[in-house]
């Protein structure tokens, strides 16, 4: 029975029975897409399984990657207040070579428990880690957020394509969050909470949509092979 179970898991792209330590909550958008796909199957509209209309992109496989940055960056753990830098890392190695990347969206969910006492707009900067020193970071995004805003989506398709084609380049991302106007200030504003609280106030996940040619051979997005 174990051998048969292993075969079935392999068919699903898994090496063993998953035992998630922390089961992250399923976003409502994923549950909605799942229900739409069930309806499509029930009505025989199998072509709809190769298009994600909720995101407006072709794709038959959707993954929501967990941020593993906190686990792999001891420097961050030791960081003293104001601890505004957070390291993000997504292990996307499970994406197979034959999958075409169609969408990669970073979701940053801010629960402002650590900063809400400030009631200030926030300055958010996202950088790509390219080497061991902070000087090698490539700035991707600088955005101001109203203090009450909770969710931010960032298109990372080009970045994830590069990580996928060259896995060694996936050194992660750095997120920096400061009260607006304090970046160049000589006065350090200390947030009222400690680092753990700060880290818990930001949750990052990466939604990736891919298209597998074998599963979606009828989809016209692919260039035709030469006969």
């Amino acid at each position: 029975t174990q051998l048969e179970e292993a075969s079935l898991l392999q068919f699903m792209g898994l090496s063993k029975v998953p035992s998630p330590r922390i089961a992250q909550p399923v976003p409502s958008i994923l549950m909605k897409i799942f229900q739409e796909r069930q309806k499509a199957v029930a009505t025989g509209h199998f072509q709809k399984l190769c298009y994600v209309k909720e995101f407006g992109v072709p794709g038959n496989l959707i993954r929501l990657f967990q941020d593993q940055g906190t686990l792999s960056n001891p420097e961050e753990v030791a960081q003293a207040p104001p601890c505004t830098r957070k390291f993000l890392l997504f292990n996307i190695s499970v994406i197979a070579q034959d999958e075409q990347l169609m969408m990669a969206q970073l979701e940053l969910r801010l629960r402002l428990n650590g900063y809400d006492a400030l009631k200030q707009d926030l300055e958010l900067m996202l950088s790509l880690v390219q080497g061991p020193s902070p000087q090698s970071e490539q700035k991707l995004l600088l955005r101001y957020l109203p203090w009450s805003q909770g969710v931010l989506h960032v298109d990372l398709l080009d970045v994830v394509k590069e990580w996928n084609s060259n896995p060694q380049s996936n050194l992660g991302l750095v997120l920096e969050l400061l009260p607006k106007g304090h970046r160049n200030s000589t006065v350090t504003t200390h947030p009222p909470d400690i680092c753990d609280n700060w880290r818990q106030s930001i949750q990052a996940s990466l939604m990736v949509v891919t298209l597998t040619p074998e599963e979606c051979p009828h989809f016209p997005h692919f260039p035709r092979k030469r006969r």
Binding site: F11, M12, G13, L14, S15, K16, V17, P18, S19, P20, R21, I22, A23, Q24, V26, P27, L30, M31, I33, F34, R37, Q38, V41, G44, F46, L49, N60, L61, I62, R63, L64, F65, Q66, Q68, N91, V94, E215
Partner: protein
């Protein structure tokens, strides 16, 4: 739905039978988020030569059944799925990531002799 309803006297003939796979009973409910179970069918029954046309049989199945009547060592054509459809599954992988994928060939829609 493709085949006419078979009378109880023909229950031994090739046809689909309902089957429900419950992930909790498999012990997979901790990582498969949805569906909790899926309804499919299995194929079971005889494929007599006289009814081969009725069972949506392949040309090969005709010949195999014909050969069986002459040479019993050659088995009869088997009752097998002739049309399958996919299901979508939402589950956690080994890293705790959430996957939404459709898997082909999970539900037996029709059976036939092949």
């Amino acid at each position: 739905a493709t085949f006419p309803t078979l009378e109880s006297t023909t229950n031994h003939l090739c046809q689909r039978h309902h089957m429900v796979i419950n992930f909790e009973k498999l012990g997979w409910h901790k990582w498969i988020i949805a569906p909790k179970e899926f309804r499919t069918n299995y194929c079971k029954g005889d494929c007599p030569f006289s009814l081969m046309a009725f069972f949506n049989s392949s040309n090969y199945a005709f010949f195999q059944t014909l050969m069986n009547s002459k040479t019993p060592e050659i088995p009869k054509a088997a009752c097998i799925p002739t049309k399958l459809s996919p299901i979508s599954m939402l589950y956690y992988d080994n890293d705790g990531n959430i996957i939404l994928q459709h898997h082909e060939g999970m539900v037996v829609d029709e059976c036939g002799c092949g």
